[in-house]
Symmetry: none
Subunit: 213 residues, 2 copies
């Protein structure tokens, strides 16, 4: 029986979740809270802390995402599934970066939600399709970003790989080309961007991200 925690501010929804999931033989609903603060406080008195947490995102006080970071330090072994009415890319990525293992729309019917929770316990990462779309777009080759300096598509891929911290060898593997080809592209990129080391490229990314993200 999986010890389950629930964080949801709307009483009606919280109780519905708690009641339905708690009634399932697979789950033991050990802690239901209306906010992260309440949840953290409640953790103290528990014999068996939850290993699976279902959390809303739009919460009063500490948001679900901020709370998630904190929660993962206190309960590193717990897996957190986010639930939200919002499916904008911003929130999805923030949740994933904060360590959520899944992200579902709030409209998910209860029996399906139960299925998803079980999938999490089984090592899965359920995501609503519309949420997952943000993710696929993130990985997809940039659909001709016009603003990006005057780098060719290939050169942009190279830059992204550098920003990911990869070595030439790994970049070559990722792009399925030879080491010399990678060198060649990088030389070109350095000329265009007026830099002369991977480090400068990465420092650039650093500054950009502070401005835009």
């Amino acid at each position: 029986m999986i010890p389950l925690g629930i964080i949801e501010d709307q009483a009606a929804i919280r109780e519905a979740l708690c009641e339905y999931l708690g009634a399932q033989p697979e789950f033991d609903c050990v802690l239901c809270a209306a906010s992260h603060e309440e949840f953290m406080a409640g953790l103290a008195g528990l014999a068996t802390p939850p290993t699976l947490v279902l959390s809303d995102i739009g919460l009063p006080g500490r948001s679900g995402i901020e709370g998630l970071s904190v929660l993962r330090q206190v309960l590193p072994e717990a897996e957190v599934l986010m639930l939200s009415v919002y499916t904008d890319a911003e929130r999805v990525f923030e949740a994933l970066r904060a360590g959520a293992v899944g992200y579902l729309e709030k409209t998910t019917p209860l029996p399906l939600l139960k299925e998803h929770l079980l999938q999490v316990a089984a090592g899965g990462s359920p995501m609503s399709p519309s949420v997952a779309r943000h993710v696929t777009r993130y990985f997809a080759p940039r659909p001709v970003v016009p603003a990006a300096d005057n780098l060719t598509p290939r050169e942009q891929e190279i830059v992204r790989a550098i920003e990911d911290g990869l070595s030439y060898k790994l970049i070559a593997e990722r792009l399925h080309v030879s080491l010399d080809t990678v060198r060649s592209h990088i030389r070109q990129v350095y000329r265009k961007l007026q830099v002369n080391s991977k480090a400068e490229i990465m420092a650039r990314a650093q500054n950009r991200s502070r401005l835009s993200w």
Copy 2:
């Protein structure tokens, strides 16, 4: 009615897919091929090219992933859903980078597969939970215990300098110490942070800033 393409080498499976999906009122199965080469060839004679493609990954000849890149150049507006028995991270990410909008296990039952295809058409990105787990791990903050920086003050200065994109030589100048001293500190930092290149340090900084800024 959505024009659908299918690429699958195993005849039995291909026919099952073709038959089942073709019989659905939502789809018009316009092209079924056993390989990407065959598929590309077949495209030429079509009045309405598919806008939705279901493709296997383990194909003879050009693999599903290589083929995907090519396909997306010929049919940029088509969305491709990958189907595979393999769910290793390597393949999943390659598929996503090549532009797949979704990735399903081959064991997905036909009616569910149909649902997933409709979700793609509706702008979703269905992923099997075990596939999605790779994705969430990709975004998640470095493994739960990334050695809580027990860096000495001097080591932290070194890290900051690295994050600024400086070379060893410049770091040595900034801190008024010898090159070898810088090396020495960096070696120590690498041990403590479990990394082994400047690039990884910088990628770390990158992730941190996304969370906090």
